[in-house]
Structures are given as C-alpha cells and as structure tokens.
Symmetry: C2
Subunit: 202 residues, 2 copies
C-alpha cells in the first residue's frame, strides 16, 4: 500500500506498460501494436509514447532491452516493478469519463441545419460500422485459429465481441432512426424565435 500516488488518469502509461508486459517493444512497435490490435478503441501517438518511455525508465518500471535491439530500434522491456504497477492499475476501478459523441450532438440540434444533412451523417455512420464488423470478423478468425493457444485469447475475443455488439447495436439504431425521421418527414429549419420550454425545469 506504499505505491506512489498517481494523477489517476495516466492511461497512456498503463497502456504502454500492458503492451510491454506482452513482449519487449520499441516506441515504433508500440504505436503499431495499438493501431493493429486495439485500433478502434485505443491509440497512442509518438508524442505520448516516447516521453512516457523515458519517464517509465526513470522510474524503473521499464528498461532498455539491449538484447532485443536490432538495427536502430530501441526496445524496452517491463520490469518487476512495472508489472506490479500494471497489476495495481488493473485492480483499480475503471475510471468513467463522458465520451463525447459528436453525431448525437448534431442530431440533438439537427433542426437548425439543412434537413438532409443528418441523413448524410447516418449514411457515413453506417458505412463505418459495416466496415468495422468486417474487420472484427477477420480478427476473430485469426484469434480462433492461429492464436488459440495463447493464454490471453479469451480476453481478446471478449474485446472483439464488445466491438461487434457495439456496431450491431448502432447499426440497428441507425436504421431505426432513418425510419423515424423519414416517416415524420424532414422539416425546414426555423431560422429564429421559438424560445422557451425545453422542459428544462428544476
């Protein structure tokens, strides 16, 4: 219980520690790792990675891995201390934050825009999630086949499943919403007036 206090939201820190717990990686590797394995739900930019690697090194959670170095790459490995830090973070409650959903903001104020605009957004939204579903299917196949022996595979399949449930649900919502707005007929934006009463009392 003597762990140094942390700003409680240093998520890049733990993302990097977790990745290095899987195997030693360089900064470049790390970026590719997140893009490839968690691309839809997590990413890290160089501007985060390299400074963080330096900080983690200074702290002793991570160390340069001279053995694994090839060419100009500078791989790092996690230390025992780093593993303890990672485990402590894994045990700590998930920190919620309101994830801002821009398409909902545009939907909420859609009356003030050109009537067809939101239909365009819905179409793009659907295309995006159809593409994601295809990507998930591919990952799932790979995990089930090639990597079935890895001890993490059940966790990874569960993560992919999250994505699938999410995209399925949002596609259903999108279809429903298209129908809802169509039957009602798009109405023109009211350019002014009409204040008061969002039912926003108390």
């Amino acid at each position: 219980m003597n762990r140094p206090a942390r700003p409680a939201l240093n998520r890049s820190r733990y993302a990097i520690l977790g990745a290095l717990a899987l195997r030693p990686m360089s900064g470049y590797d790390l970026r590719a790792f997140f893009a490839r394995n968690l691309g839809f739900f997590w990413n890290e930019s160089y501007g985060q990675i390299y400074p963080m690697l330096r900080a983690l090194t200074a702290e002793g959670a991570v160390a340069p891995d001279a053995d694994a170095a090839t060419g100009r790459r500078k791989p790092y490995r996690i230390t025992e201390y780093g593993r303890a830090e990672l485990a402590a973070w894994l045990a700590a409650p998930v920190v919620h934050e309101v994830s801002r959903v821009e398409i909902l903001l545009k939907l909420f104020f859609a009356r003030f825009g050109e009537p067809s605009a939101f239909a365009r957004h819905l179409a793009a939204f659907e295309a995006e999630h159809v593409a994601r579903l295809a990507a998930y299917a591919a990952v799932e196949a790979r995990l089930a086949d090639e990597l079935a022996d890895r001890p993490d595979v059940a966790y990874w399949l569960a993560a992919v499943s999250y994505g699938r449930h999410l995209s399925d649900a949002l596609l259903a919502w999108s279809a429903e919403t298209r129908a809802r707005l169509a039957t009602r007929g798009a109405f023109p934006p009211t350019p002014d007036g009409d204040a008061e009463a969002t039912g926003d009392r108390s």
Copy 2:
C-alpha cells in the same frame, strides 16, 4: 463559401451555439443544460463555457441578452451569424476520433492482473448501464408526454434511443463475457517471461 477557417474540432463552440439556438442561456444555464439533457454523451465545464462565450461574443455569433437578464445572470442569445455558423457545422461531416474505452484496455491486459479484478469491473459496468437504462426510460416518457409538440422531439427521442441501444448491447456483451471467462476458469497471472508472438506480424 467565405466562412473563416476553423480548427475543425472546436466542438464546445458548436455545442454552445446549438444550445443557445434553442433559447437564451447564461454560462451557468449552459452547464446545467448539458448535464440535464445530454449528460451521458456530452458535458461542458465552466472553464470551457465562459471563455467560449466571450470569444463567440467578440466574433458576433452570440450577444448578451440584456432583456432576459434576471438578478446577476448574464444570458446570451445567438445571432443570425451564429445560426449560419451552426448550420455550416451541422452540414459538415462528423469528425471521428478513437474513443478510448478503458474497460477494454483492462480486459486486453487482464491476464497480468489479479484474476477476480475484471469480474469486479464487469459488475460495476453492468450497474452503470442498468442505471442509464432507467434514466433513458424516464426521459423518453417525459419527451413523449410533455414535449410532444416541440419540433425537435423526434430528434431527441432518436438520441435517447441511441443510448438505449448502446446500453442494451453492452449489457448483453457483459453477460456473455462473464460466461466466457467463467467457463474457461480464471487463470493466475504469469509473473514473467512468455514473450513473443501476439500474431502481430506484417
């Protein structure tokens, strides 16, 4: 087509413009408005709101509304220029950004944590989404009854529906995941070694 170029991600700006398009509000009102109506998907802090109101005023998109002032409140109303800005933003494509899902990060690296830890996270996750569903039902009832005549109501119902689809799907995922991890049995964290091969080639 002569609109001044914007940093393309000034979302607080448009959130505020949109809210003021509904009716004049003060900074305090705005914060309450977002918390009440879009709390699960959008929020704004004072540190954003007050400076933004000042900037929007300087720009002529918003103006102090002396008439509506009561007590110490300083309400603002949107101008015609502000409405045009809002409409332009509504017409522009939705900007995607990778929303970081912390629970998935913890899931992905769950092998390195205490085995029961993730089960706790799932339980909290489920409680959260059950609570949200109840909140959505309440909002839906209110919208359908009291505000059925507002022209925006179809849009707002669609936004609530997004939340319901989302929480339903994530609850289903959570149940599935609990089952998946249970049948498989939790395995102890491997404190070291076992590098190589995340299937992360190419």
